[in-house]
């Protein structure tokens, strides 16, 4: 796909910074490339969107083609948290803890309208209206539920974002969250 086929290129432009050191930039680009192409997701799904994640992993829209079939159940080994489904008040601390326990670098994709804004349940007394109140989100994939191709598209958006971001701690330490 050409870059012009994607949406939201403006946000990407802001991210793109030129490194001072050519060698370091090259190394950083290489590492970013590695990270972008090796996103191991955390096995985490709360509701309907989880079924569509399963569908995305199934043979029809096989997401192992992107190298992300290595599903890890332990947050220590996962790079990507796809928040699929509604997050309720009781679940919020669990989500936060899981995110905290992931090893850096880590990325979050809010999959489906429930995760983005509370979706159909946003008026409920027990539903969190958007996970961005709890953890930082890299990519938003709207849909209810998100169809598998849309998830793949979202993952490709995330890959583009990772590829343009500076990935080495040398000279620039990532800020504590």
């Amino acid at each position: 796909m050409m870059p012009t086929d994607f949406k939201d290129n403006e946000a990407l432009e802001q991210l793109r910074e030129s490194g001072t050191n050519v060698v370091l930039t090259t190394v950083s680009d290489l590492v970013s490339w590695g990270r972008a192409n090796s996103l191991w997701p955390l096995m985490f799904a709360t509701s309907c969107c989880g079924i569509e994640i399963m569908a995305a992993g199934a043979a029809r829209t096989d997401f192992s083609r992107f190298g992300i079939e290595v599903y890890r159940s332990s947050p220590r080994q996962a790079d990507l948290m796809v928040v699929a489904g509604t997050i309720v008040h009781k679940m919020a601390p669990v989500l936060k803890r899981l995110y905290d326990q992931m090893a850096d670098p880590k990325y979050v994709v809010a999959m489906g309208n429930c995760a983005i804004s509370g979706g159909p349940f946003r008026d409920s007394y027990h539903v969190v209206n958007g996970i961005e109140d709890i953890i930082p989100v890299d990519v938003y994939i709207p849909g209810c539920p998100v169809r598998p191709e849309a998830l793949l598209y979202g993952i490709m958006q995330l890959q583009r974002k990772i590829k343009v971001s500076y990935s080495l701690p040398l000279g620039k330490k990532e800020e504590d969250k």
Binding site: S47, A59, V88, H89, K90, P93, S124, V128
Partner: protein
Amino acid sequence: MTDQALLDKVLAFAPGKVAVEEYVNTYPALRVEADALHDLARFLKENEETDFDYLMCLSGVDWGANLGVVYHLRSTRHGHVLVLKTQTPERITPTIDTISDLWVGAEFHEREVYDMFGIRFTNHPDMRRIFMSDKWMGFPLRKDYQASNPLHLETEGAYEDEGIRKLASGKGKDETFIINFGPQHPSTHGVLRLVITLEGENVDQVQPHCGYIHRGIEKMCEHLTYQQIVHLTDRMDYLSAHINNEAVCLCVEKALQVEVPLRAQYIRTIMDELTRVASHLLFWTSFGMDLGATTCFFYSMRERDHILDIFEETCGARLVLSYVCPGGVMYDLHPNFQRRVKDFIREMRRRLPEYHRLLSGNVIFQGRSRNIGVLSHENAVSFGVTGPSGRASGWHCDVRKQDPYHVYSQVDFQEAIRTEGDVFARYMLRMDELETSLNIIEQLIDQIPSGDYAAKMKPVIRVPEGEYYQRVETARGDLGVWLVSQGDKFPYRLKFRSPGFSTLAALPHLCHGFKIADLIAISGSLDFVIPDIDR
């Protein structure tokens, strides 16, 4: 026994304490004084002639001045149904006797009522909140609920949890190996949390903790019109989304006494069965994965994708269809529908033997599933474990046979039954049902009559005052919808009796003494959908 005879019998048992309810009701209903409830319930359960052994539904309701509890009882032998309604005298410290000593399954339902309405059940073995955390303020389903609860972001230590303290008590702290399975665990099928005490590999006690996806659907429904409610029901048991939609619509149609066009009924029935096939295919997938046979996932998802294509072509969505509306269906079938369904049936018939060769016959699989987690017929009824899991214990509980809706009465099909009640029986029963469903679809697919696909409905539906109960058979069992209307365009109270919730109550009973791996197999074979449990 006729309904009148039944009512007379009960009235004679406790004169003065019981009155016949004159409200519009789907089933014969009685109003009982709170102090006479337990005796009456015991009488109804233990008397040979009444023999109400199945507690269909237990719901709380806020009547304004006081709080009520409503029991829907059913006799599996006689097939009659009775509704008991009782009220607390006041709403500050409401208490009612528990009936969980009579129907084991009531334990969870009563906890739910406590959680949502604050009614304490005396003599209840484990009176705790079930969905909300212990710190939660207020009882959400009360009409005057206004408490605002801030979002807590720190998980609390488990010993702060009342239920876990209970688990650990009695033994020294060092001797109990308490371990959490879930909320984030690959094989709790979502965000169910099971707290387990272990002795080596063996499971001693299991304590389910729910509410990690409690979305308050019942409360939300009280502020939505009947058309709007339909889209929320999709998201409860999203694997039988279409059947859930139907439950609400059927209930509304029953209340309004609308005649649904025959074409719509045929469409709904076929869609029902396709949904069931898709759900059972997903069961096969996830059950295989729970047992470590990952390849199953890909084979059955491949077939499931065909069904999703059929859905998407007609309904425009793959999973949560929102296809049913009160009076019929949203749009007509797609012209390709019949051809695609027939293709799918042919394909599925070709693949099913492969499934059996790959998994069902496998010696490891058989060893892991036979004689594991045996649920007796008696317990299945007492817990209210319906659907395939109940039928695997030899209980004829198929709503499609008992209370036929749509065109099920005109279809020739056998209710699949197995008697072993173990994991293998539950697994095989779903495989049997796959074939049954294919047969039903095959009988109907060429018979779809022409005509309207929906009855003409008013843009704003007002359901006449009264209480209505509708049961449908989802892929997981008996889904009941209890609708209380006060003539408004919103329901006064809408309760979903979800099959998964009752099934979950049986899980601790099934797992005791088995191994960790068996626990996974048992919970997999019960085929939970967590949002269906939590709602």
